[in-house]
Structures are given as C-alpha cells and as structure tokens.
C-alpha cells in the first residue's frame, strides 16, 4: 500500500491541496511563513512522488504475483515518478538558462538605452511614457528600471517606496524563489499540476517587498505608487489575477502593521509537518520492511 499512498499524497500535494490553500486568505498576513509553507508543500509533493516510485519498484521486485489491477496501478505510479523526475531536471535547467539569457540581454539593452540618474548605481531611467518599474536581479549587476512615464506619475515619497520595494526584491533574491516555483510548474504534467503555488509565491514575494517599502516610505506612499503604476489600462490581454494581487496588496496596506506570531508559527509548523509526517509514517516503516525483505 505504501507506494500507492505515497503516490496519492504526492498527487494531493501537487493539485487539490494548493488549490484549497490558494483560495484561503489565511497566509496573506504572514508572507514570509507563507513562502516557506508553499516551498515545503512543493518539496513534499516531489519527495512523495519520488518515494512512491522507489517503493513501487521494490514492491514489484518482491511480489511476483498479484492481480492485474494492482500491477496497472503501480505501473502508473512508476510512470508518473519518472515523468516528474525527468521533467523537473529538464525544467530547472531550462528555466535557469532562459531566465539568465533573457535577463542578460535585457540588461544590455537597458544599459545602452537607459539614463543613469547618478544617485543609485543600478538605477536606469527609460525615456518612455508607459509607466513601469521593475528590477533585473543578478549578482553584482542588479538593475532597477523606472520609465519616465512612471517618474512623472510618482511624487518623491512614492518613488522612494517603489525603489525600496525593488531593492528588497534584489537584495533578498526573490527571483530565485520564483524561479524554483516556475521550474516546478513547468515540470509537473498538465492536469496534475496547479498554478496556485507559482501565483501564490509571486504574491507572497510582492508582499515581502511591500513590507520593506512600507517600513522605509510608509503605507500611504506605497499604496499610491501601486495604484499609479497598476492603474493604467493594459495594452493587450488584461490580467485578472494580477489585478486581484494588487488589490490584495492594497488591502494589506490598509490594515495596521502588527505581528501575527501565532499564525506564522502555525504556518511554520505546518510546513515542517508536511515534510516530516509522510516520511515518518510511510517512508520509514516501508524502508524497514523493504530492508527486511531484501536482506
């Protein structure tokens, strides 16, 4: 039963669990714990699926005769495991290379097209009316890019909030967190995966950077900056999800800052439990059995 149970846990952690957690607003006040919980869910899903593959292999070796249904079920588990492992390795490499190539080219372009303002070394200003601000994280070669259109819509404290937000992304390497979730999303087969982990990780990371910006520039300027930069109509293909995420960030800024120790402790504990429980209750007994069987 171990292989099937592990496979089931893996599938639950890859699809339905993220879908439910993504809909709840429980983690929104505690983004740091939230990122950790999402990471642990993702890791647990991968581990459960890999564990299921291993357990199935041993089971097939040790049990010669069983009904065709059980054999078929186990073949499916092994197949899924191999797909996930191969795709995960492939996707990680692919995402890492693509991201770096795209970022390098973009940085080269920004460097020859953008203006330096002289105050911040990595800041580049683009002579373009579309209001936008983003960062290009890279070790020692960070760029924070702000368009002239954004500058004209932001007052001093608002610009400070934007810069503080982007610098928080760059300093904490939030892009690496997103990259991992992006690789994971690419790796899981369609139908099994959920887009929630990636979307939620994006939201949590934005909220973490918002917290940094808020403590430097205040909630008011940050909120005004968010609306000034997001409140422009999109050129093609509106993003409902993104609008939702800006709304959630604003909602968070409306509430006074207070630490949610109990909630974040609960999230951390859940993160540990998700990783440890399947190991203790399924993998360890199975390893003992398998050891006894093979020796």
């Amino acid at each position: 039963m171990t292989p099937l149970l592990l496979g089931l846990i893996g599938l639950l952690l890859a699809g339905p669990v993220p879908a439910v957690l993504g809909r709840s607003r429980w983690l929104l006040p505690t983004p740091r714990a939230g990122v950790v919980l999402w990471q642990s869910l993702a890791l647990a899903a991968v581990l459960a699926i890999i564990g299921a593959g291993f357990a199935t292999t041993v089971w097939m070796i040790s049990n010669g005769q069983t009904g065709p249904f059980m054999v078929a079920a186990h073949v499916v588990v092994i197949g899924l495991t191999s797909i996930v492992v191969v795709r995960l390795a492939w996707a990680s490499a692919q995402v890492a290379l693509d991201t770096r190539a795209r970022r390098r080219r973009h940085r080269d372009l920004v460097d020859v097209l953008g203006d330096r303002d002289g105050t911040e070394p990595g800041l580049r200003i683009l002579a373009h009316d579309t209001p936008m601000a983003y960062c290009l994280p890279a070790l020692g070669k960070n760029r924070v890019v702000v368009s002239a259109g954004a500058l004209s819509r932001l007052a001093g404290p608002e610009l400070e909030a934007v810069l503080a937000h982007e610098q928080a992304h760059v300093r904490a390497r939030h892009d690496l967190v997103l990259e991992a979730f992006s690789a994971l999303h690419t790796a899981f087969p369609r139908g099994v995966r959920s887009k929630e982990p990636l979307l939620q990780a994006q939201l949590m990371v934005e909220m973490l950077a918002d917290d940094a910006a808020r403590s430097r520039a205040g909630a008011g300027p940050l909120a005004r900056a968010l609306v000034a930069l997001a409140g422009q109509s999109t050129p093609a293909g509106a993003l409902g999800v993104a609008a939702g995420s800006v709304a959630l960030r604003l909602e968070r800024l409306a509430a006074p800052v207070h630490e949610r120790r109990v909630r974040s402790a609960a999230a951390y504990m859940l993160a540990v439990a998700v990783l440890v429980l399947p190991t203790v209750f399924l993998a360890v007994p199975w390893m003992i059995d398998a050891w006894a069987l093979l020796s």
Binding site: H185, A219, R224
Partner: protein, 132 residues
C-alpha cells in the same frame, strides 16, 4: 592618466553606441576615439575594449576593411527600444516570473477604478500612523 573602472566602461558603452547610431557609415576605433576624446581624455585602448565588449553583447558588428576593423550598430536605437519594451511588457502571468520582477502588473479600467477605491481606504487608515 586614470585607469577606467567598470562603471566608467558601462557609461562609455552608451556613449559609443550613441556615436555608432549617429553615424551613417561603419566607424573605426580611431574614428570613435577621435569623436569622444574631443570631449574628455580617453585612451585609444579603452575605446577598443568598449567596442569589443559591445561586439560580444551582439549590439555591434565588426567587419574587416583593409588593415582596420570597422564597427557598426547591429540594430537601430528604435529597434532595440522596441525589443526592450516588448520584453518588459510581455506579461503572460506565469511566464514572466523571474526574469523581470515588476513592481505592479497592469489592469483594466474597471479594475483600476476598484483599486482607486481601495486606495482611499489605505489613506484613511494611514492617517494616524506617520512613517510607519
């Protein structure tokens, strides 16, 4: 003379590109050096290094003309601007992720109105707590 540091080279890359974009014909290191050193003191080798870096970045192409190399911009400024803007604005939700981390995504007018209303609430709450 002062040795050029890395950020200075970066600044120069921009200036050199400006010269190449402004030129009708491919330029040699000597041409570019002559134009730029009219404004400030620059070593010939510095310009050579900068052109070499730009060539490696595929922003500049190099052709051999007799004994000298001639350099020209691969793309016009407008083309590069278009490429950059396209890259910066091609947000399709799950793909954008890690390469460029945007401050805020863009929304429809109705959503913008809703955001403006939400902003009022923030301002309202924010009043009693300066700078926090």
């Amino acid at each position: 003379m002062a040795t050029p540091t890395a950020p200075k080279l970066g600044d120069l890359e921009r200036d050199v590109m400006d010269r190449l974009w402004g030129a009708a014909e491919p330029r040699s290191v000597r041409d570019v050096h002559a134009e730029l050193s009219a404004e400030r003191e620059l070593a010939y080798t510095t310009i050579m290094t900068v052109l070499d870096r730009l060539t490696r970045k595929q922003l500049v192409s190099r052709t051999r003309e007799g004994r000298a190399y001639l350099y020209s911009a691969v793309n016009s400024r407008a083309e590069l601007t278009a490429e950059m803007m396209h890259d910066a604005l091609s947000v399709d939700g799950l793909d954008r992720t890690a390469a460029l981390v945007h401050f805020a995504d863009r929304v429809t007018p109705e959503e913008a109105a809703a955001l403006a209303r939400a902003l009022e609430r923030v301002q309202h709450h924010d009043e009693g707590q300066p700078g926090s």
